[in-house]
């Protein structure tokens, strides 16, 4: 525990204190802390300030029950909470002060909303008598966060605290998960009331899981059984519903090729013989091209994002579409479905599997394998086993795969590093790919990797980050140092905002407007934080450096100087059809 170490109460005294007080009146601030304990939130991320100080004072007293990780910026705290939620499957908790503390959370809240990550964000607020007076550090965070939260609420009375926190956790984790924000005025933190806690299990106006219609499942089964060229595209819904086994059983029983969205990665092992890779803008060649060849497209827990579909007018027009999802608002939002099956995919797939026959069309599989061979020869092989002088991102990721055997959690930032990690990362285990998908938030990687490691201390966590994105949240090296989080960090340094440069090369006649980066000595900076660091610029040093990094018990940093102007291919240029995916 890093924050405060003086005059800590012995554990039994803390317990007695708590026990004694369950029947007595307590302050709102203590109620916040007790409510968090009731919800099992023993690890939270945050940053203190005036309007939340009463709650921090209570954290001081329960350091044996709640580990508060002090980050270096509220954005770092929320991305860490996202990483924690994504690796552990639990609700991430973030706490910040009013005004700038609260607004610094917004990017992470928006990110969690679009990527369906369960978070409870708690912000302090000025006293209720000052609301609306432009008081010091007053900001209307409830209004600001409304469009990017699943739910939010401002507490102005202490007695509301346990009920609202219980509701917040229930809403964040149930149904399609998402971020919620609770804003607590300072007077509500100070006021006393009689505390009792009851977990929330139901809200009368809220139906987190739509009822499954077995008729729809039957119709879907018939359509799948009749298909000659069925194709499964799965997304994060599979991970969120813990339906990895059902997905696998379905495709194995039916012998259907499957591909993942960016956030669906790792729900099915990379090496599975039916895993055809990733769809979308920088996804794999075969699943993109054959999206426009299949006759039945079975979408499972995904939302037809425009980075997946390319031009909607030419997306899978020849196919019948079956959409399995928990969120009715996703049905027909982007792609019109022929059959929609609502419910958790764990439940609906389980119902579907017994009705499914094996598909006998081996020619269909062959089509995938033929295209995969083309992609392997033209892109994957040269990028992962290059002969050119400069190192490539692909070979760095391949070197990590080799050292971890594909058992690590791979976090990525945003840009070329992200797409390369998604394309070349090897995943044997679910919840192993953590990245900012829908929002594409640069700076996500470093703090998310800290949270991912704290959420799963038993697993190796490796972050791949670009030289640009690293500098967006580089201050979190301080958190890694203070909290001693043994994450492994690989910065892929191309001295460019690489992904933007790639677009400039392809679509703006190589006019590299503001994408050249003059970078500091990253190794020196990282060493300044007391973290072991190494720079690799030659191929012969790569393997050893990665091996040392993985072998390290502590945090470890490797900067790899990579080819400056490498491009990520295949690529579906924006607005083009999935089948017009370019190999160069």
């Amino acid at each position: 525990m890093e924050t405060i170490t003086k005059t800590k109460l012995p554990e039994n005294e803390v317990k007695q204190e708590l026990k004694k007080k369950t029947t007595v009146r307590i302050q709102g601030s203590e109620a916040v802390v007790r409510s968090l304990i009731e919800e099992g939130a023993n690890l939270i991320f945050g940053y203190p300030g005036g309007a939340i100080m009463p709650v921090y004072d209570e954290f001081y007293k329960v350091q044996d029950k709640i580990h508060h990780v002090l980050t270096r910026h509220e954005q770092g705290a929320i991305h860490a909470a996202q990483g924690f939620a994504r690796s552990s499957g639990k609700v991430g908790v973030v706490i910040a002060t009013s005004g700038p503390g609260a607004t610094n959370l917004i990017t992470g809240i928006a990110d969690a909303q679009i990527d369906s990550t369960p978070l409870v964000c708690i912000t302090g607020q000025v006293g209720s008598n000052l609301l609306g007076s432009d008081a010091f550090q007053e900001t209307d965070i409830v209004s600001i966060s409304t469009p990017v939260t699943k739910w939010n609420y401002q507490i102005t009375k202490a007695s509301e605290i346990p009920g609202v926190i219980a509701k917040a956790f229930y809403i964040a984790r149930s149904g399609r998960p998402g971020p919620v924000l609770i804003d607590i005025t300072k007077d509500a933190q100070f006021d006393e009331f009689d505390f009792s806690y009851k977990k929330c299990e139901k809200i009368r106006s809220y139906h987190p899981v739509p009822e499954m219609d077995p008729e729809k499942v039957k119709e879907a089964a018939e359509m799948i059984n009749k298909a000659k060229k069925p194709f499964v595209v799965f997304g994060q819904g599979v991970v969120l519903a813990q339906a990895e086994e059902e997905l696998r059983n379905l495709i194995e029983k039916a012998d259907i090729p499957a591909a993942s969205t960016l956030l669906g990665l790792s729900a099915l092992p990379t090496d599975h013989n039916l895993n055809m890779g990733m769809v979308g803008m920088h996804g794999h060649y075969a699943p993109n091209v054959l999206t426009n060849e299949c006759d039945v497209l079975i979408a499972i827990g995904m939302r037809f994002d425009d980075r997946v579909t390319g031009n909607l007018d030419t997306y899978a027009k020849q196919a019948k579409i079956i959409h399995f999802d928990i969120d009715p608002a996703e049905i027909d939002k982007n792609v019109k479905t022929d059959i929609a099956v609502l419910g958790t995919v764990k439940e609906t797939l389980a119902e579907l599997i017994p009705l499914i026959d094996k598909n006998k069309n081996q020619k269909w599989h062959q089509e995938f394998h033929d295209l995969r061979k083309i992609e392997y020869d033209r892109i994957i092989h040269p990028q992962t086993k290059p002969t050119q002088e400069k190192l490539t991102m692909g070979e760095v990721i391949a070197a990590v795969n080799e050292q971890t055997n594909g058992d690590a959690i791979l976090v990525s930032d945003v840009g070329q590093n992200q797409m390369m990690t998604s394309r070349y990362g090897k995943f044997n285990i679910t919840k192993s790919k953590i990245t900012s998908g829908g929002l594409g938030t640069m700076g996500f990687g470093l703090p998310a990797s800290m949270g991912a490691k704290l959420g799963r201390p038993d697993r190796e966590v490796v972050a791949f980050i670009g030289d640009g994105g690293f500098q967006m949240t580089i201050q979190e090296l301080g958190t890694i140092m203070q909290t001693k989080i043994p994450v492994k960090i690989v910065v892929l340094n191309n001295e460019f905002l690489g992904m933007v440069r790639q677009w400039q090369e392809l679509f703006f006649d190589r006019r590299y407007a503001s994408t050249v980066m003059t970078n500091p000595d990253f190794v020196k900076i990282v060493e300044g934080y007391g973290i072991k660091a190494k720079r690799v610029s030659k191929r012969e040093d790569l393997k050893d450096a990665i091996a040392d990094m993985i072998a390290s018990e502590d945090a470890y940093f490797v900067e790899v100087i990579v080819e400056k102007e490498e491009n990520v291919f295949p690529m579906i240029p924006s607005g083009a059809s999935v089948s017009d995916v370019r190999l160069k």
């Binding site: 409830v142 209004s143 409304t146 469009p147 699943k150 739910w151 939010n152 609420y153 401002q154 809403i171 809200i203 009368r204 106006s205 809220y206 969120d327 009715p328 608002a329 049905i331 027909d332 939002k333």
Partner: protein, 174 residues
């Protein structure tokens, strides 16, 4: 798909902040709200929003789904003008002397079925409920003589078809 006026009715918990949350759903899609009315309903603690917007049916469906996704929303529906009985109310403030000097004004008032709410030596106030066109007709009639103040409410509506809201809510409220 063709745009037309849709009436969107939303039954919600009576909650602070929900107006903002529902409004952002329209704003996010760059849809202008033509009129908005929030009121209590026949059911205790349940509010109703009536929102009119000029949109396609596809947009209406998507907006309804996004509204229903909000935690405190109980149910949302959309209707075309043909499917609902709706009206708006308007108040007109006019100089009293016109009532005596301009005979035609009396005819206009009579013809429009408007009600005189109050009269005093300086001005009188007319109230007219009805469809937008009827209110506009009265407005045009009076405008040439001068209107001191004019205000029109948002649309209120009930559906022709039985909505079984009470039944639905009873089920939800258990």
């Amino acid at each position: 798909m063709e745009k037309q006026l849709y009436t969107i009715s939303v039954y919600t918990e009576n909650n602070l902040g929900l107006l903002n949350r529902i409004a952002t759903i329209f704003l996010k899609r760059h849809v202008n709200i033509e009129s908005l009315t929030v009121s209590s309903t026949e059911i205790e603690h349940v509010s109703r929003f009536i929102i009119v917007a000029n949109i396609t049916e596809d947009e209406a469906k998507k907006i309804i789904k996004q509204i229903e996704k909000q935690i405190e929303v109980i149910k949302a529906f959309y209707h075309t003008n043909d499917e609902a009985i709706y009206l708006q109310s308007a108040l007109f403030k006019v100089k009293s002397k016109l009532l005596f000097e301009k005979r035609q004004i009396q005819n206009i008032i009579k013809k429009s079925n408007a009600r005189i709410v109050t009269v005093n030596p300086e001005f009188f106030v007319l109230e007219k409920s009805g469809r937008k066109e009827e209110i506009e007709e009265l407005y045009d009639g009076l405008a040439e003589y001068g209107i001191m103040q004019f205000v029109r409410s948002g649309r209120i509506s009930v559906t022709k078809e039985e909505m079984k809201i009470t039944e639905l809510l009873e089920k939800e409220l258990v």
